[in-house]
Each structure stands twice: as structure tokens, then as C-alpha cells.
């Protein structure tokens, strides 16, 4: 179990070096992306001006306040509360994000499935688990909302955050097909019969 501090963006080799249970802290640019953002990008032909090559995206739709564009808030938005949403709903966008935009890291909660594992293996990427629901803490890692694109989808816009000490995050899916979610899930299913027996029920 190793710890890595990344200044974003990173290369393929950096992503492939990560193993399950390693931890990572990010600095620099981080993109925020959500259901509607990706539906519009991958189903409705919209594009973004942002260069996401080698970058990380976090599954989020933040609470923000419009304060007008200033040096401290170049996007015009001040962050209020930035947290992370359940990744599973956005499973089918992992591969296009990686292949079309060069994304290397997906940050989320609850994990992704086999299709994403395959994409991480084929293209070279990882999934980092953040603690869902710990948004007050996560917000303290975000220095600024630098820019925003596709803002007609607000709050599901494409956000460009500048972060400092964003982590530690847990490598829970790596580029070798490993997934802590699959491991935990399989172990839990193995305990199903015993749990049912404790309730006086014979497992079917």
C-alpha cells in the first residue's frame, strides 16, 4: 500500500502504477461531471472546450453561489458545498470519457461495474473512492471554481475546480481488473446463507 501525490494531469504509466488499497491525493485541476453533463456530451453530441487529457473527474453537482466574475472567483461562482454522488448511474460513460477525452481517473462513491473495469484495463485508468456524504470536508480541499462549461445544465454543468490536498482517496478499482467492490460484494454474498440462517430462514 503506497501513497501518491499527483499534480494533475498525469500520464498512462502513473495510472497503471496504482494498485488496490493505495491512496492518492490530488493537486491542481479537477473536473466535476454528472449525469446530465455526460448525457449531453455522449448522447446529444455536445462538446466541451476543456482539455481533459490525463485529468481526473469527480462525480458531482456542487452547491455554488453566483458572486460575479472576480480574481478570486474567475468563473463567477463561489463554492458552497462540493461533494460526490453515486457513480453507478454513470457507468456507461467511463469508456467514452477515457477514449474520447483522455480522462485517467474517475473519483466517486459506491464504485463502478465490470464495463468500467475493462475500460480501466484497456485504456489505463483507475477509480478512486471518496467518502460519500463527507462534503463539508471535501469542500475544504477545493480552492476555487476556475471555469465552467455547459452551464445551461447547472448544477450539472462541467466544472473546472482547482484543488489542493484533495484526498487521501482510496484506489478501489485499478487498471489490472481489480475491484474492492467486487471483492467485498462476493464476500458478502458468501455470508448470505449464514445471515439468513440466523433469521431461521433456509437460503434458496
Amino acid at each position: 500500500m503506497a501513497h501518491y501525490d499527483f499534480n494533475m494531469p498525469i500520464g498512462e504509466a502513473d495510472a497503471r502504477r496504482l494498485e488496490l488499497n493505495d491512496t492518492v491525493t490530488l493537486n491542481g485541476t479537477l473536473y466535476g461531471i454528472r449525469d446530465a453533463t455526460q448525457i449531453h456530451m455522449f448522447d446529444r453530441g455536445r462538446t466541451t472546450r476543456f482539455d481533459m487529457k490525463g485529468h481526473a473527474v469527480v462525480h458531482t453537482a456542487p452547491n455554488v453561489k453566483w458572486v460575479g466574475e472576480t480574481a478570486a472567483h474567475p468563473s463567477g461562482y463561489a463554492p458552497i458545498c462540493i461533494g460526490t454522488t453515486t457513480s453507478a448511474r454513470m457507468e456507461r460513460f467511463t469508456r467514452p470519457l477515457m477514449e474520447q477525452y483522455g480522462v485517467r481517473i474517475i473519483i466517486g462513491k459506491g464504485g463502478l461495474s465490470e464495463g468500467s473495469s475493462d475500460a480501466f484495463r484497456d485504456v489505463g485508468g483507475v477509480y478512486l473512492a471518496i467518502v460519500g456524504g463527507a462534503a463539508a470536508l471535501e469542500t475544504t480541499w477545493v480552492e476555487q471554481i476556475e471555469e465552467v462549461d455547459l452551464d445551461d445544465l447547472n448544477p450539472e454543468s462541467l466544472w473546472k475546480f482547482r484543488v489542493k490536498g484533495f484526498g487521501p482517496l482510496l484506489v478501489s478499482m485499478d487498471s489490472r481488473g481489480g475491484s474492492l467492490y467486487t471483492q467485498v460484494n462476493n464476500a458478502a454474498r458468501d455470508k448470505r446463507a449464514a445471515a439468513l440462517a440466523s433469521l431461521g430462514v433456509k437460503a434458496s
Binding site: 456542487p62 454522488t85 460519500g132 456524504g133 463527507a134 462534503a135 463539508a136 448544477p155 448470505r192 430462514v201
Partner: protein
């Protein structure tokens, strides 16, 4: 007691913001209990981060979680309370909208077909307003629950048949916890509705999921099920955030209702670790806030 609707509107605004920022004491105690017994290193570290987040939210007066949820207002009206029901509902909606625009909060509510967001946390039939009445009381109580989607997306209904018996109910709850995995932000409160009609069964599961920790089902059969199921689901090892550990659920809560001779419905609704709720109580002595 005559109700001042301006005061109700103000309280409904305040309630939404309070609920998002302050975790009820019973949930904090629940965290302490889980943290003391968790044996998995990853699970323990995650619980530690969650506990730290509660403190950071209080210190920075920030929201515990970014998901402002679907707003639910549970209103209990005493029989000696004088209020225009229609105007009461209007005041609640107004308070909810003002919280969203004045704080401001992320509006998480969209039209189900157009997906258009009015940026008020309200829309057709939302906020959800549930009304109940109690006898001989000069008290108006409003409970506010911002129901996050991570947990709400993990909701299930099964119309089991009488021949499947209570075993079907127990098996269903265990399987729902397995299916939810980390998606519900465990540790959760697993709410189980048993009996009723399909819609009542689902509603009961929501009442169960949002009840304070330490409370028990008034029906002794339900209370027995709660105890058995609470220990069973925590044998599965799903753990905090679904990354393994002993702390899968704070508790399983059950609510029951009579049902049809041919029916055996069971519903599961979950509440995540950000088990937020806030309460305003109006009495002749004035307004007070709690949980």
C-alpha cells in the same frame, strides 16, 4: 392556538437549512457506537472521516452533504390548532423555495420528463407534504427531511404471497442490503414496510428509514423483526461505503400495517449515514427547533 403562517414560512425555510447542517444527536451517538466496535481498518478509517465531516460542517456552518435531496415536510396538527390547511401548504412550499434561493442551496429537483430545474427545490407535488392529526393538543409540529438520492434510488417493493410467509420478508431485506452495496452511503438505516397496500407499504418503509435511532416499532411483531434483522444485515460485511467492515447499518427499522388475506407486501427504503432531519414545534408559548 391560531397559527401565524408567516412564521410557518420562515420556519420551513430555516428547517431545510438546519436539517442540511446539523446531524441529530441520535445519529451522532450511532456513529460513536459503530466506531467503537468496527474491526476493519478501511471501515474504521471511513467512519473516522464521516465523524470528522460532522465536525467540519458544524465549524464551517456548512452543509453535511452536497445532496440537498428531495424536500419532505411531515406536519402534525393538534386538534386545538386553528389553521387554514391550504394556506399552510402554501407557506411550506414558500419556505422551501426561499431556503433554496436565499441560502442559496443546490436545487436537486427537476421535472421527470423535461428534466427542467426551476432552481427552487420545488416542482409538481414537491416538496412532499405529509399531514397527520393528533388529539387534544395545541401543538403544530413540522419535521423536515432532505431525502438524498443515493439512498432513495435504492428503494424496493415486493408483493410476496402469503405462502412465502415472513421468510420472504426477511430474505428480501437481506437481498436489498446486498444489492445496495456501497451505493447508499452505508452505514444506513434500513427502513422496512411490512403489510398494507403497495403504496402504504412503501410509505411505511420511508417512515421506518427516517425514524430516530433508538426508537422501536410500536407493534411488538415489528419490533422483534427489527432486532433480528439488525443483527443479520451486519453479518454481511458490506461495511461503510461498501468497502468492507462490520458497520453496514446503524439499525433496521420496521413499520407494519394490516394487509389483505391474499397479500404479503414488503418494501425497503434506506437512509444514508447523512441521516438528516430537523423539527420545528409551535405551541402557545412560541416556536422551538429540535430534531
Amino acid at each position: 392556538m391560531k397559527v401565524d403562517l408567516k412564521e410557518v414560512e420562515e420556519a420551513c425555510k430555516e428547517l431545510y437549512i438546519r436539517a442540511l447542517k446539523l446531524l441529530p444527536p441520535d445519529i451522532k451517538d450511532g456513529f460513536k457506537r459503530l466506531d467503537a466496535t468496527e474491526t476493519d481498518a478501511t471501515g474504521k478509517a471511513i467512519l473516522g472521516t464521516m465523524i470528522r465531516n460532522i465536525k467540519v460542517a458544524e465549524e464551517n456552518q456548512n452543509l453535511l452533504c452536497q445532496d440537498t435531496g428531495i424536500p419532505i415536510y411531515n406536519v402534525t396538527i393538534g386538534s386545538d390548532v386553528e389553521v387554514d390547511g391550504y394556506k399552510l401548504k402554501q407557506a411550506i412550499v414558500k419556505g422551501c423555495e426561499r431556503a433554496t434561493q436565499e441560502h442559496p442551496l443546490r436545487s436537486s429537483v427537476v421535472h421527470p420528463v423535461t428534466r427542467k430545474n426551476q432552481h427552487t427545490s420545488s416542482g409538481r407535488r414537491v416538496p412532499v407534504i405529509n399531514l397527520d392529526f393528533v388529539e387534544d393538543s395545541e401543538t403544530l409540529s413540522i419535521e423536515m427531511i432532505p431525502k438524498g438520492s443515493g439512498s432513495e434510488n435504492n428503494s424496493w417493493l415486493k408483493m410476496a404471497v402469503p405462502a412465502d410467509g415472513i421468510d420472504a420478508v426477511k430474505t428480501f431485506v437481506v437481498d436489498c442490503v446486498l444489492d445496495a452495496g456501497g451505493k447508499t452511503c452505508p452505514p444506513t438505516i434500513v427502513g422496512v414496510g411490512v403489510g398494507g397496500t403497495a403504496d402504504l407499504c412503501v410509505h411505511l418503509s420511508k417512515i421506518a428509514a427516517t425514524r430516530p435511532l433508538g426508537s422501536h416499532c410500536e407493534d411488538p411483531e415489528g419490533a422483534r423483526l427489527e432486532a433480528e434483522l439488525s443483527s443479520a444485515v451486519n453479518q454481511l460485511g458490506v461495511g461503510p461505503q461498501g468497502l468492507g467492515g462490520d458497520s453496514t447499518s446503524f439499525a433496521v427499522h420496521v413499520e407494519t400495517a394490516a394487509t389483505h388475506i391474499t397479500m404479503n407486501p414488503v418494501a425497503v427504503n434506506m437512509q444514508c449515514h447523512s441521516a438528516r432531519r430537523a423539527r420545528a414545534t409551535f405551541t402557545p408559548k412560541g416556536l422551538s427547533y429540535g430534531f
